[in-house]
């Protein structure tokens, strides 16, 4: 089977590949992330209804964070030295995994938006910030969807990049916090905040900004997944050997990946 030189045989291999991709997909991790966020939102929605303070889009952003964190564990090439030796490109499996997450994340987003809308109906409006009174019309949802899409793709890009580093085995454990911190910094930094946060930025501008981030992150994800080389730059100050410690599982030569 050589998918690159013989497209027809590659197509015939698709069902087998799909089965493999589906079997190796981290369903539990993804489902846990999506359900945990949604469960939190349900609890918060109950509090919001009882306190007569409808949920805002901020609550949906918060509830979507676990799903984004779970997504950071998805792009992973298991047994890379082996998979790279096979005729099927190594990026096929992680790319398939990412594609499989799309409908799940979409359903999660839809469910969370529906929960938010449920708390608004009684008030006839929603909040854009904690201090606001209920507005007569709910704010546009498309900037929020663009933002959540941007978060997802950026987290996937971070995970794909970590997968190419010596910390590949840590994967999402590095990519998730790094992504979340980056989102928080982008949100609160005045320079980026005035473009990425609504208000002050108008909805169209926010959507365009997040779409641009999504596009860039998508390119980065593809480039990282297609990269065939191990990137093992070692941060010497981080992993400096301690005096008196014996060579062990962590004391590998500098080109080896780190233990989890």
């Amino acid at each position: 089977m050589n998918g690159r030189s013989k497209p027809a045989s590659g197509l015939r291999a698709l069902p087998q590949l799909a089965r493999y991709v589906a079997q190796t997909m981290p369903w539990t991790t993804l489902a846990t992330g999506c359900l945990a966020g949604t469960a939190v939102l349900v609890v918060v929605a109950r509090i919001a209804v009882s306190s007569h303070w409808p949920l805002g889009q901020g609550a949906v952003r918060l509830a979507f964070v676990p799903a984004v964190a779970a997504l950071a564990f998805v792009p992973r090439t298991w047994f890379r030295p082996v998979t790279q030796a096979t005729p099927v490109p190594a990026w096929v499996a992680p790319a398939g995994h990412i594609l499989l997450t799309v409908p799940i994340l979409a359903v999660t987003c839809w469910a969370q938006l529906a929960i938010m809308a449920g708390t608004i109906t009684a008030r006839g409006g929603t909040l854009t910030s904690p201090g606001d009174q209920a507005a007569p019309h709910p704010p546009a949802v498309y900037p929020l969807i663009a933002q959540l899409t941007g978060w997802c793709v950026a987290a996937a890009a971070a995970a794909a990049c970590v997968d190419r580093s010596r910390y590949a085995d840590l994967g999402g454990a590095v990519a998730a916090p790094v992504s979340l911190v980056a989102f928080a910094v982008a949100w609160y930094l005045p320079l980026t905040g005035k473009v990425l946060v609504r208000p002050p930025a108008p909805p169209a501008e926010v959507t365009i900004a997040w779409s641009a981030i999504t596009s860039g992150a998508l390119v980065l994800t593809c480039a990282a997944m297609r990269d065939r080389w191990h990137r093992y730059p070692r941060l010497s100050w981080l992993s400096a050997p301690s005096k008196g410690a014996c060579p062990g599982p962590g004391r590998r030569e500098s080109r080896a990946p780190a233990a989890r």
Binding site: T32, V40, V44, P177, A258, A259, R260
Partner: protein, 582 residues
């Protein structure tokens, strides 16, 4: 245990500490768990703990958590005067972020054997899983330096900024216990769920109550890991049991014990040890529940009474000093503020051409509002009475014509010009009282007394011209316009320095740009000349009907060019501010 034993603790590159032959020579012949005596096992745990503590100390997660905690503490410490009874609890928000990072780091470390599918290899070591978990739990002491550093850094910053009051030891200790408790929960999570997502979700569980704290009210907020009630910022002094720091620390200690017990219970096999753990778990649970119940106890009625009285009738709870024509009243602990408050006010009063026959009262205010967290557990009639009293709090509606109120959170040095202007407005009978929040402030449109008041404040404070000039522009750099009743077009206004301090220390009339520009022009004249002109017809100048043009003519200067509104009336501009006519 010899030094060779210490060397047998091997570290992996990302922070694992595993024991390879930690039993040492004495244990060489007895590799089985049952053969090991308790003392070497404890020593082994301590050796592992020291290695784990060192790794936690230099963990990137913990370092990031420390940085995030520092930023959060800084962001949540109000820009005004730091009050220790508020700041000590705000530091806990920083500790919360550090705790999240420690939880993730601890979970990663504890879940490593199973995550790496190397449980069998680890089982072949002479050290049992329970000993390794015990070592990890002891190793959480490695997070303490970061927590203490956060406390020390915040305390140093707050003291340099001139904090009022003293830090509550239990408030700070509870923050440390929060970090340790989160670490223990992280170890328990990692022992049961090795996947790193478990740690991330655990950290998010800590974050959710913090993020939704604006929705949570009542005494139940103390049961969450860390929530700060908004009223804490506005208290004029510490209130016993608000927040219930000692009980909260006990609750967090109980959670830490429960986390440790859960982690050990997942690894021990001995029935006897399980029994001991069960007892420890029950004790931890009991301590947590008792601490929770203690936090839900109502604050003594006498304390709430004292607080409500201090907020509703500040002067009755303050120490007052009379100097010249003004009486300065400050809450206990704020005596050092007297000089800073007195300076701008007396500088205005000494310049007055004609001294009023009344005494001006300058007082601090604590604009509290009814809050269940303070009043829960008391009879409804009593709570209604307190709420009615709090509705009349100066600075939150109402007001007294002969007093200036300055919120406790505002630093007098930041409100220097505002104090001077308020005193000058009082002198020219533009009453410097706080208006009801539902009402719009009046504008002294084309009134000479406004320019006189601004001139007096300018002469008293010598505020830099650039700072004054910036008040003409809004946040977007454009001129500010306000619709005024009986005026055909919106009026250009001027925001004086200190007007937007957040807590609105003095809500007097809204100055106009015309008044500021005329006052600014008057500062170019000799002071004695202006005083003599004002002295000659003081009663006329303080009359609201006397115009800016008349004052300019009397002083022999041209009326400066005032911006005129050139655009269309904005939609929905029916809501117009009144003109000051008193």
């Amino acid at each position: 245990m010899t030094s060779a034993d210490s060397e047998s603790v091997v570290r992996s590159t990302d922070g694992a500490a595993v024991s390879a032959g930690a039993g040492g020579a004495g244990d060489a012949g007895s590799a089985g768990t049952g053969a090991r005596s308790r003392r070497p096992r404890l020593r082994t745990a301590l050796v592992l703990a020291s290695a784990d503590a060192r790794l936690l100390l230099r963990s990137l997660f913990v370092l990031a958590g420390l940085l995030a905690g520092g930023v959060i503490t800084w962001l949540f410490t109000d820009a005004g005067r730091p009050l220790w009874w508020n700041v000590a609890w705000v530091i806990g928000y920083g500790q919360l972020f550090l705790a999240m990072a420690v939880l993730v780091a601890a979970q990663l470390a504890a879940g490593r054997p199973r995550r790496d599918a190397m449980a069998d290899l680890y089982a072949s070591f002479p050290t049992s899983p329970a000993t390794r978990v015990l070592g990890q739990l002891f190793g959480l002491a490695g997070a303490a330096p970061a927590s203490l550093l956060l406390i020390a850094g915040a305390a140093a910053g707050v003291e340099i900024a001139g904090a009022v009051g003293a830090p509550g030891i239990w408030d700070l200790a509870a923050g440390l216990l929060l970090v340790i408790g989160a670490g223990a929960v992280g170890v328990a999570l990692g022992t049961r769920f090795p996947h790193p997502l478990a740690g991330v979700l655990g950290a998010l569980a800590l974050f959710v109550p913090f993020s939704q704290s604006n929705r949570l009210t009542g005494p139940g907020i103390w049961l969450y890991p860390w929530i700060k009630p908004p009223q804490l910022t506005l208290l004029p002094g510490p209130v016993t049991g608000y927040p219930p720091a000692a009980a909260h620390a006990a609750e967090l200690a109980g959670i830490a014990v429960l986390g440790g017990v859960a982690a050990l219970a997942l690894t021990v096999t001995s029935a006897r040890v399980r029994g001991v753990l069960a007892i420890a778990g029950i004790l931890g649970l009991a301590a947590t529940c008792l601490a929770g119940a203690a936090q839900l106890r109502p604050i003594p009625a006498a304390d709430v009474n004292r607080l409500v009285r201090a907020a509703a009738d500040p002067v009755s709870a303050q120490h007052c000093t009379t100097a010249g024509q003004a009486r300065y009243c400050l809450y206990t602990g704020f005596a050092a503020e007297l000089a800073a408050i007195e300076a701008p006010v007396s500088a205005v009063l000494t310049r007055l051409p004609v001294h009023p026959d009344k005494t001006l009262t300058v007082s601090q205010a604590a604009p509290l509002s009814p809050d269940l967290t303070l009043t829960h557990g008391h009879p409804g009639r009593q709570v209604s009475q307190w709420n009615a009293q709090l509705q009349r709090v100066p600075g939150d509606g109402g007001g007294i014509a002969s007093a200036i109120y300055l919120a406790v959170t505002v630093r007098p040095s930041d409100a220097r010009f505002a104090l001077a202007l308020a005193a000058a407005e009082w002198a020219v009978q533009l009453t410097p009282t706080l208006t009801d929040s539902s009402e719009l402030p009046c504008l002294p449109v084309n009134q000479a007394r406004e320019a006189i008041a601004i001139w007096l404040a300018l002469m008293a404070t010598h505020t830099p011209a650039a700072q004054l000039q910036s008040g003409l522009d809004g946040p977007d750099g454009q001129q500010n316009w306000i619709p005024v009743s009986s005026q055909p077009a919106p009026v250009a206004v001027w925001n004086y320095p200190g007007q937007n301090l957040g807590s609105e220390p003095i809500a007097g009339p809204q100055p106009t740009a015309a008044g500021y520009l005329l006052a600014s022009a008057i500062t170019g004249l000799p002071e004695h000349k202006v005083i003599s002109v004002l002295q000659a017809g003081w009663a006329r100048w303080v009359d609201w009907r006397t115009t800016d043009g008349q004052l300019a003519a009397a002083l022999g200067i041209r009326m400066p060019a005032v911006p005129q509104f050139g655009g269309a009336q904005p939609p929905g501009s029916q809501l117009a501010n009144p003109v000051c006519t008193t």
